[in-house]
C-alpha cells in the first residue's frame, strides 16, 4: 500500500545513524555519517573549476582529461559506497541551507530548500549509471578529443565535468529547486557541448535549437514547481510524499472518487510532464535531439543518449505518486511516449547518417521508457533506462570511433565492411552487441527491459492502451530493422569506404584530402592502402578499452533481470521502496478503478512475472488484459523475439551483402546500393517524407518561426517608425529653435558686441523701469 510506504519515509538527518545494514565495519561507519555523499557532485564541480584553471593557464596537455576522469571515478566509487551502505530507508543528507524564507506561521507561508540530497534507491540507481558511464565516456573522450589538445580540450572537459555536477544535483536533490537547478545546469552544459565546434554554423544552430526548445519544456517544469508549492506548500520531497494531502488524494483515487482530487493537483503532473517531454525529447518537443548530434560524439553518448535525456523519465518516476492521482497525466504520457517511439522509428528507418539514426533511436527508446512508466510498469521503464544507457552509449561510441577513423564519414552508403578491416574488430563487436540489445534479440538486456514494457502495454487497461501495445510492438520490429540496417551496411560486406570531408583536425590527413575526393566515387575497392592516400586510423587503447568495458557491461545488464526475480529483477527491488514503487495497485486487497480510466488488476501479476507459470492459478485473469487470448506476460517473450527476428531478417535481406564474409545474404555488392532501394520505390513518396523527418521541422518553421519572423519585423517597423519617430520629434524641437537663432551667429566680432550691448541696454531699461 502506498500509504505504508509513505509512512516509512521518515526524515532522516545526519544525526540519525540507525538502520545501516552494512556488510562490514567500514561500510557501517560510512553509513553512520553520510555527509560524504555531498562529495559526489562536488568532486565533478571541483574538476570543472580546475579545468577552468587549466584553460586560464593555457594547458597544452591531456591534464584536464586526467583531472576529469579521476574526479568522476572518485564520484563513482563514492556512489557505489553509498549504494553498498544504503540501508533501504530514505535518507536526507543536508549540505547547507539554501533558501529558508518565511512570511507567517501558517502552513504554506514558508519556503525551505536546502542544498540537500534525497538518498533512496531511485536516486542511487540513477547516480550509479550516471557516474559510471561518465567516467567511461570521459576516458573515451580523452582519446577522441585529442586533436583539440591545447585548444578546446580544456573547455570540453570543463563542460563535461560541470554536466556531471548538474546531473548529480538533478538526481540527488531533495527538493524541487535542487532538481530545477540541475535541470537548467544540464541544459546549459548540453548547449555548451552541442555548440562545441562553434565555428560550424550547423553546430551553433543546433545548440541554439536545443536550448530554445528546452526553454519551452522548462517553462512547463517551472510552472509545475510553482503549482506544487502553491498547492502542497512545500518543495521538499520528504514533506511532499509524506503529506496527508497527497495521501488523501491517493485514498480518494483508490476508493474510485478520482473526481475528488482538486483540479490544481491534477494540473501539477501535466506541467511537470511538459518539462519532462522537453528534456527527454518527446513529441512535440523532440526536434532538438537529432540536431544535437552536431556535438562531439562522447557528448552525444553521455548527454544525449544515456543520462541527460533520461532526466524526464527520472522526474516522472520521482513524482509517480503525484502523477497517479491525476486522471489524465499517465494516459497522456503513455500516448505521447508510444507515438514518439513510433514516429522516431519511422524517421530512423529512412536516415543515412548513422549518428542521426542512433539519435532517432534514442528518441524512440525514450518513448518506450515513458510508455513503460505510464503503463504502470515503472520497473520496466526504469530498467529500460538503465539498459538503454549502456547499449546506446556503446552504439554512439562505436559510431564515434568510425567517425573519428574515417575523417567524419557517417553516411552508411559510403562505408562498408568494417568487420574485415584490421584494427576495427573491437568496434565491430561492440556495435554488434549494441545492435542486438537495441533490436531486442532474446536474452540481451534490451530484450528483457523492452519485454517488460510491451507485456505491460497489453495488461494495463486505459484509453486505447491496447493500441499502444500494438504500436510499441510494431516499433520494436522497426527498431530491429533500422538497427541492423546500420550494422549490415557499415560493418558487414566488402571492404569499401570513402573518407568524410572533415579532416578531424589531424594534420597528417590534410594533404591527402584533395586526392581522396577525386577517387571517392569511382567504385573500385579501396583495399589497397598503398595506392590511395587516405588511411582510416583505427581506435587505440582508450577508445577500445572503453568499448570493450561497455560491451561487457551491456551484456551483463541482462543478468540484472534474474537478480531477485520476485521483484522483477534488481531494478524492481531498487524501486520497491522508492517513490516509483508499484505499490498502488494491490490486486489482493482492492480493485482501484479510476472511473473507467484504468482498471488495474493486481500487483500479483507484476510479482509473478518472473514465475509466469503460477499465473494460471490466479483466479482473476479474466479481468486481466490479454494478447490475442494469451497472457501477455508469458507470450510476450516469444512475440517480441519473433518481431525482432522479422526486423533483423528484413534488414539482412534488404541490406545484407554478398561477399566473402556472408555470401548467403542479399545481393548488395556496392556500399551505396541495396535491395531496399528497389523496395522503397514501391512505397511511393513515403520513404522520402520519412527521410525529411516528416517535414516536422518545416512545419514548425511554418507554424512558429515564420509567424514570429513576420511579427518581429512588424514590431521592428513599429519601433522604427513610432518609437524612434517620437524620440526624434522630441530631439527636433530644440534643433528647430536653434535653426531660427542660427543666423544671429555671424562669427564676426562686431555682431557679438552689438548684441551684447543691446542685451545690456535692454537689461538696464528693465531695471530702470522696475526701479522707477
Amino acid at each position: 500500500m502506498l500509504t505504508d510506504v509513505m509512512n516509512s519515509l521518515p526524515m532522516l538527518t545526519l544525526a540519525a545513524a540507525d538502520g545501516a545494514k552494512g556488510s562490514g565495519p567500514l561500510i557501517e561507519s560510512w553509513a553512520a555519517a553520510p555527509g560524504w555523499v555531498l562529495l559526489i557532485p562536488l568532486l565533478p564541480l571541483l574538476a570543472a573549476v580546475l579545468n577552468v584553471g587549466c584553460a586560464i593557464a593555457g594547458v597544452k596537455t591531456k591534464l584536464p582529461a586526467v583531472i576529469t576522469i579521476v574526479s568522476l571515478a572518485a564520484a563513482f566509487v563514492l556512489t557505489a559506497l553509498a549504494y553498498l551502505s544504503f540501508s533501504g530507508e530514505t535518507r536526507i543528507v543536508t549540505g547547507w541551507s539554501w533558501f529558508d524564507l518565511s512570511w507567517g506561521d501558517g502552513p504554506g507561508q514558508s519556503m525551505k530548500a536546502d542544498f540537500g540530497f534525497y538518498i533512496d534507491n531511485l536516486s542511487l540507481l540513477w547516480m550509479l549509471f550516471v557516474t559510471g558511464l561518465a567516467t567511461l565516456i570521459a576516458t573515451y573522450a580523452s582519446e577522441y578529443m585529442e586533436h583539440d589538445v591545447g585548444q578546446g580540450y580544456n573547455r570540453f572537459f570543463f563542460a563535461f565535468a560541470l554536466f556531471v555536477f548538474s546531473m548529480s544535483c538533478l538526481v540527488l536533490g531533495d527538493n524541487l529547486l535542487m532538481l530545477y537547478l540541475g535541470w537548467e545546469g544540464v541544459g546549459l552544459c548540453s548547449y555548451l557541448l552541442i555548440g562545441y565546434f562553434y565555428k560550424k554554423p550547423e553546430a551553433v544552430a543546433a545548440a541554439k535549437k536545443a536550448f530554445i526548445v528546452n526553454r519551452i519544456g522548462d517553462l512547463g517544469l517551472a510552472i509545475g514547481v510553482f503549482l506544487t508549492f502553491v498547492h502542497f506548500g512545500t518543495l521538499e520531497y520528504a514533506e511532499l510524499f509524506s503529506s496527508e494531502q497527497l495521501a488523501g488524494y491517493i485514498d480518494a483515487v483508490k476508493a474510485g472518487n478520482a473526481g475528488d482530487v482538486p483540479l490544481m493537483a491534477q494540473l501539477i503532473p501535466v506541467f511537470l510532464m511538459i518539462g519532462a517531454f522537453g528534456k527527454s525529447a518527446q513529441f512535440p518537443l523532440y526536434v532538438w535531439l537529432p540536431d544535437a548530434m552536431e556535438g562531439p560524439t562522447p557528448v552525444s553518448a553521455l548527454i544525449h543518449a544515456a543520462t541527460m535525456v533520461t532526466a524526464g523519465v527520472y522526474l516522472i518516476a520521482r513524482f509517480y505518486p503525484v502523477f497517479l492521482v491525476s486522471e489524465w497525466a499517465l494516459p497522456v504520457v503513455a500516448w505521447i511516449g508510444a507515438f514518439t517511439a513510433f514516429l522516431a522509428a519511422t524517421i530512423g528507418m529512412a536516415q543515412f547518417d548513422i549518428k542521426r539514426i542512433m539519435a532517432y533511436s534514442t528518441v524512440s527508446q525514450l518513448g518506450y521508457m515513458f510508455a513503460g512508466l505510464a503503463l504502470l510498469s515503472s520497473t520496466g521503464g526504469v530498467f529500460h533506462v538503465l539498459t538503454h544507457a549502456f547499449f546506446k552509449a556503446l552504439l554512439f561510441l562505436c559510431c564515434g570511433a568510425v567517425m573519428h577513423g574515417f575523417a567524419g564519414q557517417l553516411d552508411l552508403r559510403k562505408l562498408s565492411g568494417l568487420w574485415s578491416q584490421p584494427g576495427w574488430r573491437v568496434v565491430s563487436v561492440g556495435m554488434l552487441i549494441g545492435c542486438i540489445n537495441l533490436a531486442g534479440v532474446p536474452f540481451t538486456a534490451g530484450y528483457f527491459s523492452k519485454d517488460m514494457i510491451l507485456a505491460e502495454a497489453f495488461v494495463t487497461q486505459g484509453p486505447g492502451y491496447g493500441l499502444i501495445g500494438w504500436l510499441l510492438l510494431l516499433t520494436a520490429g522497426m527498431t530491429a530493422y533500422y538497427t541492423f540496417r546500420v550494422f549490415f551496411r557499415v560493418f558487414v560486406g566488402p571492404v569499401r569506404y570513402e573518407p568524410g570531408d572533415d579532416d578531424h583536425g589531424s594534420s597528417d590527413h590534410d594533404h591527402e584530402h584533395d586526392q581522396s575526393d577525386a577517387h571517392g566515387h569511382d567504385g573500385h575497392a579501396h583495399t589497397d592502402h598503398a595506392q590511395h592516400p587516405f588511411h582510416p586510423h583505427p581506435p587505440r587503447l582508450a577508445i577500445n578499452g572503453v568499448l570493450a568495458t561497455l560491451s561487457v557491461l551491456a551484456v551483463l545488464a541482462a543478468g540484472l533481470y534474474f537478480v531477485t526475480p520476485e521483484n522483477k529483477g534488481w531494478v524492481g527491488s531498487m524501486l520497491k521502496d522508492s517513490t516509483a514503487a508499484q505499490v498502488y495497485f494491490d490486486g489482493e486487497s482492492d480493485h482501484p478503478t479510476r472511473a473507467g480510466l484504468f482498471l488495474i488488476d493486481g500487483d500479483a501479476h507484476h510479482r509473478d512475472h518472473a514465475h509466469a507459470d503460477d499465473h494460471a492459478d490466479h483466479g482473476e485473469h479474466a479481468a486481466h488484459g490479454s494478447f490475442l487470448g494469451f497472457d501477455p506476460h508469458k507470450v510476450m517473450y516469444y512475440v517480441s523475439a519473433i518481431v525482432g527476428a522479422i526486423g533483423i531478417g528484413f534488414a539482412a535481406w534488404a541490406h545484407g551483402p554478398r561477399g566473402a564474409v556472408s555470401g548467403f545474404l542479399g545481393d548488395r555488392t556496392e556500399a551505396a546500393t541495396s535491395r531496399m532501394d528497389a523496395v522503397a520505390r514501391s512505397f511511393g513518396p513515403i520513404p522520402k517524407w520519412a527521410e525529411h523527418k516528416w517535414y516536422v521541422d518545416e512545419f514548425y518553421h511554418f507554424l512558429f518561426r515564420a509567424p514570429l519572423w513576420v511579427l518581429s519585423h512588424i514590431f521592428h517597423a513599429i519601433d522604427k517608425l513610432l518609437v524612434d519617430g517620437l524620440v526624434n520629434l522630441i530631439g527636433y524641437v530644440p534643433r528647430a529653435f536653434g535653426r531660427l537663432a542660427q543666423p544671429g551667429q555671424s562669427g564676426v566680432l562686431h555682431g557679438y558686441a552689438l548684441s551684447m550691448a543691446g542685451g545690456v541696454a535692454v537689461i538696464l531699461l528693465v531695471v530702470m523701469m522696475v526701479a522707477g
Partner: protein, 119 residues
C-alpha cells in the same frame, strides 16, 4: 582716521568754482566716453582702432568709479581704478601682440575677416 579723511576730502575744502561740477557731470562724461567707445568698436573694422575703443570704454568706467568714490568720500574707487589701469596696461600688451599675430595670419587688420565661428 575716518575723521581725518572726512576733513581732508570734504567738499567744502574745494575751490569755489569746482562746486558747480557735480557727480552728474562726471557720470555724463563717463557715459559719453563709453558710448563713443562702444560705437567705435561696433562701427570700425580696423583691429587696432577697435582695441583703442575698448580702452576708451575702460577709462570711461574708471572715471565713473573715481567720481563715485569722490562722491561717497571713499578711496576704494580710486584704488580700484589704479588696479584697473595696471591690468589694462598688461592687457594692452597682450592684445597688441594678438593683433600682430592675427595680422600675420591674414595680412590684414580687418576684424570682419575673422568669422570662423559663424553658425
Amino acid at each position: 582716521m575716518p575723521d581725518l579723511v572726512v576733513s581732508t576730502l570734504a567738499q567744502a575744502d574745494f575751490p569755489e568754482v569746482m562746486h558747480a561740477i557735480t557727480l552728474y557731470h562726471y557720470l555724463l562724461v563717463s557715459a559719453v566716453m563709453f558710448c563713443l567707445g562702444l560705437i567705435g568698436f561696433v562701427t570700425r573694422r580696423n583691429l587696432i582702432i577697435m582695441f583703442l575703443c575698448t580702452e576708451l570704454m575702460f577709462q570711461a568706467a574708471g572715471i565713473a568709479l573715481i567720481a563715485f568714490g569722490r562722491f561717497y568720500l571713499d578711496y576704494t574707487g580710486q584704488v580700484f581704478v589704479i588696479f584697473v589701469l595696471t591690468v589694462a596696461a598688461a592687457e594692452a600688451a597682450l592684445a597688441l601682440a594678438l593683433v600682430v599675430l592675427l595680422f600675420r595670419r591674414k595680412e590684414s587688420l580687418d576684424g570682419t575677416a575673422w568669422a570662423v565661428l559663424k553658425g
